[in-house]
Amino acid sequence: MSDSATRILAGLLEARTGQQLGLSRRWRIETALQPLMRERSIASLDQLAGSLVGGREPALAEKAVEALLNNETFFYRDRPAFDLLLGPVLSRLERARAGEKRIAIWCAGCSTGQEAYSIAMRIAEQKARWAGWTIDILGSDVSRAAIERASSGHYSQFEVQRGLSVLQMMRWFAQQPGTWRISSEIQRLVRFRVHSLIEPPPEPGRFDLILCRNVMLYFAEPTRRLVFSRLAEAAAEDAVLMLGAGETVIGQTEAFAPDPEARGLYVRTGKSAARFAAAS
């Protein structure tokens, strides 16, 4: 594989998604693209890169980008943080929205849907509590393939038990030959759409909880700042932001600050992210 092929593919990935191909992932580029190359009878990375430079193969480019994205996820990933989010933080939000009885939740970069369904299951398990409420859960991802899988609600045996308790698995999934299918009751609570975080936020544009986890890790600094300002734009005044276990807003944006009541979660500050971005 030539350096220029790697550069072309990495450039395509970053242009489409903001994701930089980390050094450690560079050597896996060939493994990641192998299935696509086999499917299209493409002999080498150089040949693949060659077909992509002209921009005449948009479908192939989309598939290549999807293959390069890291879609790793599982149910209730980072369980202690989820307990905090769906425990005290959700209760606080419930009090704050007691009048309008409406909560909007956005899982930005939700991959194959486990994160969004984790929230939906918890809501469904508290039927009496949420009776009369409108709870909108949106899962979005730049990868069409991931969103298709998320919407289908089908998971392999390996995936279905990853992070999920056996009782939840038995309650909310039906075992079918070769797959576990999520119940329509849960599926109905979540909507999915293809969306890139670099674009303006999706409808309804004002979210009370935003999860953006393990997505920004490989964004370059300016992209990360842009995305934080997008998230701030989409956040209700008292919205809570949840990042991945190793991620922080500190030094990245002024639009969010650590939630004094919930360690590891963040609240909207009211400060403009855009101003911060312009000033730095």
Binding site: R77, P80, Q161, R162, G163, M170
Partner: protein, 121 residues
């Protein structure tokens, strides 16, 4: 540190499980079948048992039923860990007193979350 007893007749599985459990800071003990597991429990009750289904001498279900009937001062959490992967087996295990259920193959994240769910990690 919490302790885990790994009960499996496959040496390879015991080794893999031990490795993951040690990275999760568990003290690990092993048994090859249900009977050996019972005597381990009597000598030194673990916090959690990782239990295979099919084993010679005494299988997982018989071990679990015997364990749950016995009047030990404390009962460990029991996580089945088996290739049996259909709803009927899973229900039977839960009815017999299992706290969690892992279908092989599994990885560290799966095991860690199951241990968190039963409250030992």
């Amino acid at each position: 540190m919490k302790s885990c007893l790994v009960v499996d007749d496959s040496k390879v599985i015991r080794k893999v499980a031990r490795h993951i459990l040690e990275t999760l800071h568990f003290v690990v003990d092993e048994a090859e079948d249900g009977r050996e597991a019972l005597s381990r429990c009597e000598a030194n009750m673990p916090d959690v048992v990782l239990l295979d289904w099919n084993m010679p001498v005494m299988g997982g279900m018989e071990f679990l039923r015997t364990l749950r009937r016995a009047d030990y001062e404390t009962q460990p959490k029991v996580v089945f860990c088996t290739t049996e992967n259909d709803a009927a087996h899973i229900r039977a295990a839960i009815d017999a007193g299992a706290d969690e259920y892992v279908m092989k193959p599994f990885d560290r994240d799966t095991l860690e979350s199951k241990l968190q769910i039963v409250g030992v990690a």
